[in-house]
Amino acid sequence: MKLMYFAWVRQRIGTASETVDAPAEAATVEDLVAWLKTRGPGYAEAFRDTRAIRFAVNQEYVEPTHPVAAGDEIAFFPPVTGG
């Protein structure tokens, strides 16, 4: 799956996107976040308060309980501030 990070999520993690093979247990967005937090201090810091983060799977907003699968494009970012 392809992971994308934006704004301060991207800055804390230190990368804009990456392709990962998540473990089978990472079946939902929140499972995936729990696994990502184990990957290093930048991830732990970025996902410290997941209420401050929005999730998109294949360019659509989803809830943390949304399932994820290999091949998905999953994005993590703060609430949007355009316009």
């Binding site: 934006f6 998109a56 360019q59 609430p79 355009g82």
Partner: protein, 150 residues
């Protein structure tokens, strides 16, 4: 009906002229332009940069525009949003809706900018004397967008 995301500035007069050209069914044109302010949250802002998520932006803006077209009898609509580095006074976003009737044009314009503020994946970063900071989302924007859900 068009949606564009670009680094370059836009020429408001030219865009509006193109939008309404030749369509004499248009009686009203509603427009909103967002600009970079030189002060925000009480602090001076010397520059702004706008980041976005291109594939999702395109999809979200197209969905928002389709929703506006379903709600109001629009003759034409346009959204242009800039990304990249901007300075105070620069244009950020242009929203325009043309209709036979003014209320539809004005309401659709307000709807588009409210939803764009809360759904379109753009993020602003401001340069201030205290350093750079990501702009926080405002609850008033969520409230404004919620007006349209019924």
């Amino acid at each position: 009906m068009a949606v564009r995301v670009q680094e370059a500035d836009f020429d408001i007069g030219r865009e509006l002229a193109d939008l309404t050209a030749g369509n004499h069914a248009i009686g009203g044109l509603g427009v909103f332009v967002g600009l970079v302010r030189d002060i925000a949250g009480g602090e001076a802002v010397s520059a702004m940069s706008l980041e976005h998520y291109p594939s999702m932006t395109e999809r979200q803006l197209a969905e928002i525009e389709a929703e506006a077209l379903a709600r109001w009898p629009l003759e034409a609509s346009l959204i242009i949003h800039r990304v990249g580095d901007l300075m105070p006074g620069d244009n950020i976003v242009l929203v325009a809706c043309a209709s036979a009737h003014r209320q539809a044009a004005l309401d659709a314009t307000a709807f588009l900018i409210d939803w764009l503020k809360t759904k379109a994946p753009f993020w602003k970063r401001e340069e201030t004397p205290e350093g750079a900071r990501w702009v926080d989302a405002r609850e008033s924007d969520d409230a404004a967008a919620a007006r349209w859900s019924k």
